[in-house]
């Protein structure tokens, strides 16, 4: 039990630390503007201090709900629950964010909700197909069993494309590379600012926490496939994700529909290829 609690808090803390490290490295790169090292955390704290604009009960309800579900998903992941259970809880989290965005009724809220649904069905489809592949190889969907089998049998050898497609889900969730759906709230354009409209101030801060936790969940899930000890595998995945965060600065953003098409092709397509391969070979 103690181990699970330690993992739970370690994963929660690791994602902000990752973003701090990213911010630090980025600020040291030539041509990049200098920022404070603790900028991501500072921005979050400032959001907590702000009063929500035009936010009613629903904004708090959806943001707190999504954060709660992300924490439940994280606990289930570190405790080694069934992969599909974790996916179900993450779906609930996404559902709350999307419905909250719709409930705003304004332009950017609806736009972000539509893009959110598009992203949602891609990652849900990929996850379920990946789960089918994992079950075909491991005979179980329990994450602790998958981790144990990875260490002893090297599951990743039979699931290379599944691993890549799950990693692309992580990139989609992190709004990175060519899998950026433009709903992160970081972009300067009107459409890219979508997520900020239904959620602002305190509720946006809670959503931000939920998304960090969700990123942690996916990192932990991916680490189960690396055939080394758990802390090392988690560190490896964390490091690779950091590399993609840095690389993202050098990749031009694409229109969201192109991102959706690429996500279907890479995440969904690779998951299907691995699934069909396992059936026939």
């Amino acid at each position: 039990m103690l181990g699970k609690i330690i993992w739970f808090f370690a994963v929660i803390l690791s994602v902000p630390v990752l973003y701090i490290a990213y911010n630090f490295i980025k600020s040291m790169m030539p041509g990049q503007s200098k920022t404070y090292i603790l900028q991501p955390v500072y921005r979050l704290l400032k959001l907590f201090e702000k009063k929500d604009e035009n936010a009613g009960f629903l904004a708090y309800f959806f943001s707190i709900g999504s954060c709660l579900f992300s924490l439940i998903a994280l606990y289930m992941t570190v405790a080694g629950f069934n992969f599909l259970f974790v996916i179900s809880v993450l779906s609930m989290m996404d559902l709350l964010v999307i419905t909250g965005a719709f409930s705003s009724g304004d332009f950017s809220g609806k736009v972000s909700a539509k893009r959110g649904i598009s992203r949602f069905i891609i990652w849900l489809f990929t996850s379920i197909v990946s789960a089918a592949s994992i079950y075909q190889v491991a005979g179980t969907l329990k994450l602790n069993e998958i981790s144990r089998l990875s260490e002893s049998n090297g599951l990743i050898v039979n699931l290379p494309f599944t691993f890549v497609s799950l990693f692309i889900i992580l990139l989609m969730k992190g709004n990175l590379m060519h899998f950026n759906f433009g709903i992160s709230g970081n972009e300067q354009s009107l459409l890219g600012d979508a997520l900020n409209s239904p959620y602002s101030g305190w509720s946006l801060a809670v959503i931000q926490l939920a998304q960090w936790t969700e990123t942690g969940v996916w990192l932990k899930i991916l680490s189960n496939f690396i055939p080394v000890a758990k802390p090392v595998s988690y560190g490896v995945v964390l490091f690779v994700f950091l590399a993609f965060l840095l690389l993202d600065g050098y990749i031009s953003t694409v229109e969201w529909k192109k991102a959706a098409r690429l996500s279907w092709g890479w995440a969904g397509g690779l998951a299907i290829i691995n699934f069909i391969y396992l059936f026939y070979y």
Binding site: L58, S103, F107, K114, I117, F120, I121
Partner: protein
């Protein structure tokens, strides 16, 4: 034959004739009373299945079958639907010759419910009683609510109950034929009420013709089955029918699919009138979801003997139903048609489940990942539909350019693909493949 089973089949049939001569008065009362009676009977039978037996001669059922077919024949001539006349004429000939030349022995228990069937019947009865208030509400809102239309509706409703109970309880193929014909009459009566509603799209008549064609084939199959095995009861088909097992199973499968309107086509706009939606929903839940599942379960002894290729293709067809239902539901997002399409989606899962874990030594298309992928895609689309539906509760239709300019489906699956056409091609291809594999088994 159980007393309660007989009550469930015959009491609505008596009410059918009562409604026929009532001139439409008291239809609401008959609908309510018959629904409550049906639920009470189902509950009693579920709690105490072994009640008093009544010996009803099978000859009576044969006469009823023949009378039913003759009635449809006369009515079709009256309505100038000569294609149906031709099919029912052949059915009548087959029935008469079958009785005179062969005189088959019907199973000892012509109507009987096992546990699964009682469970399905109970779920259907609960759905019926839940729908009755909505049906009556919509009927009362019918603007030109003539007594004649009310009478037809009441007759269709009670016959629907009777055929539902009969289809669940039938133990022989001739029994299934009889109660499917009752279902056909029930649907015909509903069509007379809602078919000509202003603004509604005309119901594709070809479906009605194909249903009668399927029933004619089904009746022929029952004759052949009796000749080959000496039985009419489904549970006695354990050893199959030799080389023609696959072909016979295909006709049985197609009959169940067509009588359940489970063709992955976009025929739902037929139910365009909002007044027809409650009864259309009820009709589809009973005859597209519960009945095909229950009927196909009866044939599991036969399916266990089949060549695996046919089974795989039937599973593929079921998975296509899941995807097509979800796709059409999303296409009509925020519309009453979505609910009706979702029923087809769930029915697809039911059809697939029937064939799950059927063992066979031979392998063709076995372990095919395609059905699973199609089902997953269908489930994901269903989830997307549910999100859209929940979101719709919180907001009104969009007023922004990005929300209006394109259909929601195109925005969430941003590929320029004609999914409707793909669905049509897929189901035709699967049907052709299944027919091909079944026929190839004949020449082995």
């Amino acid at each position: 034959m159980g007393f309660m089973v007989l009550c469930m089949v015959l009491v609505p049939l008596i009410l059918f004739f009562v409604t026929m001569f009532s001139k439409g008065k008291g239809t609401y009362l008959i609908i309510t009373v018959s629904g409550i009676f049906f639920l009470i009977c189902t509950l009693i039978m579920f709690l105490s299945p072994n009640m008093a037996d009544i010996n009803m001669p099978s000859l009576l059922w044969r006469i009823i079958s023949l009378l039913t077919v003759v009635l449809i024949f006369i009515r079709s001539i009256w309505d100038k639907q000569y294609i149906i006349s031709i099919f029912t004429f052949f059915q009548a000939i087959i029935l008469v010759l079958f009785e005179i030349l062969i005189s088959p022995a019907e199973p000892e228990r012509y109507l009987y419910f096992n546990f699964n069937e009682r469970l399905l019947l109970l779920s259907g009865a609960v759905v019926i009683i839940l729908f009755i208030p909505f049906i009556i509400y919509c009927l009362k809102k019918l603007e030109n609510n003539s007594l004649n239309k009310l009478r037809h509706f009441g007759m269709g409703f009670v016959l629907m109950l009777s055929s539902f109970a009969g289809l669940m309880a039938a133990k022989s193929m001739t029994g299934l034929f009889l109660f499917w014909q009752w279902q056909y009459i029930s649907g015909y009566l509903f069509l007379r009420v809602f078919g000509q509603t202003a603004g509604a799209k005309s119901f594709p008549r070809v479906i009605v013709y194909i249903q009668q064609a399927a029933l004619t084939l089904f009746l022929s199959v029952s004759v052949v089955a009796f000749k080959l095995t000496g039985f009419l009861s489904m549970q006695d088909f354990i050893n199959g029918f030799g080389n023609i097992s696959e072909f016979m199973a295909l006709i049985i499968f197609v009959s169940a699919i067509l009588m359940g309107l489970l063709v992955p086509e976009n025929f739902i706009p037929w139910f365009d009138s909002s007044r027809a939606v409650p009864i259309a929903g009820l009709y589809l839940i009973i005859f597209s979801l519960i009945v095909p599942y229950g009927v196909l379960l009866k044939f599991r002894p036969l399916f266990n003997n089949l060549y695996n290729g046919v089974i795989s293709l039937m599973i593929l067809y079921g998975s296509l139903l899941v995807f097509a239902g979800a796709y059409f539901a999303l296409l009509f997002c925020k519309s009453r048609h979505s609910i009706l399409s979702m029923i087809m989606c769930i029915a697809g899962l039911a059809v697939t489940t029937v064939f799950n874990k059927i063992q066979s030594g031979r392998i063709f298309l076995d372990g095919n990942p395609l059905p699973l992928l199609v089902i997953i895609a269908g489930i994901v689309l269903t989830v997307a539909y549910i999100i859209m539906w929940i979101s719709f509760i919180f907001t009104r239709p969009g007023d922004t350019s990005e929300c209006i300019d394109e259909h929601m489906l195109v925005s969430i699956i941003p590929f320029n693909i004609n999914y409707g056409l793909i669905i049509k091609i897929s189901w035709i291809a699967i049907s052709a493949l299944t027919l091909g594999v079944s026929l190839s088994c004949l020449v082995k």
